[in-house]
Symmetry: C2
Subunit: 208 residues, 2 copies
């Protein structure tokens, strides 16, 4: 996108993030989504912040139940895990249907036992509405290390896990989401367009 405002979108890609599966449980319904914004805010007591896109069904479940798990993904996480949790909605799919093993932390919520190197259980103490996202602040109720595999960063995901677009995608006309690769086929991308896969806005698309 152009840079008429003095705000270069590329600067935001310099911020370093991990990648996490955020899970919740509402009654018998288990669900999870991929997020990249989990930060510790204080050490005493242990508190974390997470910004979650309102488009995610997991977001609504956490708003309702007030508890969640964050599973910290390791660098050996296959792309299929990102597809499972990031590229479809728990409103229509059981994302854990094909999980080879299911493990619950003491709060009763599933975590990702195979590819996460740790998980943190949280209880929401503050909810702030920021338009497209809710900023949750949570007390940590449990935290466990699962393996010594290094954590995957957003940058590592782009460089080593996310498949490169196939060569013939260049024949498509339209706009590609720089985040997940979704292609919008059309001559003009509406400025309020939101990627149906990863929920990022028009600013994260580029012309093919």
């Amino acid at each position: 996108m152009s840079n008429l405002t003095g705000i270069d979108n590329a600067a935001f890609f310099k911020l370093s993030y991990g990648l996490f599966v955020l899970t919740a449980k509402d009654g018998d319904k288990d669900n999870g989504c991929i997020i990249n914004t989990v930060s510790q805010i204080t050490d005493t007591p242990k508190r974390i912040s997470l910004a979650v896109n309102k488009g995610n069904f997991t977001h609504d479940m956490i708003l309702k139940t007030g508890i969640f798990n964050v599973s910290v993904l390791g660098i050996e996480t296959p792309f299929s895990v990102f597809q499972c949790f990031g590229f479809q909605s728990g409103r229509t799919v059981d994302k854990f249907a094909d999980a080879p093993e299911k493990k619950r932390s003491p709060n009763g919520i599933l975590y990702e036992p195979r590819h996460a190197n740790s998980y943190i259980s949280g209880k929401i103490i503050s909810t702030s509405d920021y338009g497209t996202h809710t900023l949750f602040i949570a007390d940590v109720t449990e935290a466990a290390v699962l393996s010594a595999v290094p954590s995957v960063t957003y940058q590592y995901y782009f460089d080593h896990i996310k498949p490169k677009p196939p060569v013939d995608s260049s024949k498509k006309k339209g706009y590609v989401c720089k985040i997940c690769g979704y292609v919008y086929e059309g001559d003009v991308l509406p400025p309020d367009f939101v990627c149906p896969l990863c929920k990022h806005g028009a600013a994260d698309f580029e012309k093919l």
Copy 2:
């Protein structure tokens, strides 16, 4: 530290962070500190969150003035930059006194022009008190890319930038801060002890 509570402190080191110089200006006083918790929370409008330890003088300056810059450090940043901004206080030292070049963004605040790959200028829209830290939410007023050098992560800093403790440090008795290497010499570390260098608490110390 022991893990009697179900909260394993090591899990928090799995969260991925960048490292940033947070700068502010109050009248003629320029100052900056190192922080590791900057996250984008929404894309439209561009907003970021940052948690800042109240012990930092920069924190107080931002509370007063409401504006700041975040300089995103690259992997080529020398340890001396972390020492300059992280291991001393702007209350007693002019951290920019020896800066070979000073550059200000349009908001009038200095940024780190030599080792940062980008900077983001922000204006505070929300301030939340979380005990040891303040969580600031800010509108982004400017964002610029300075170089293509990859961003340094907390993990990279530990593995490649922070000097390893000298061998004879093992002869010291006491507790070492796992964050910055400060050594508390004494038989018992007070549970409310806070590292005078990096402001982390007793939970981040381990016995030598």
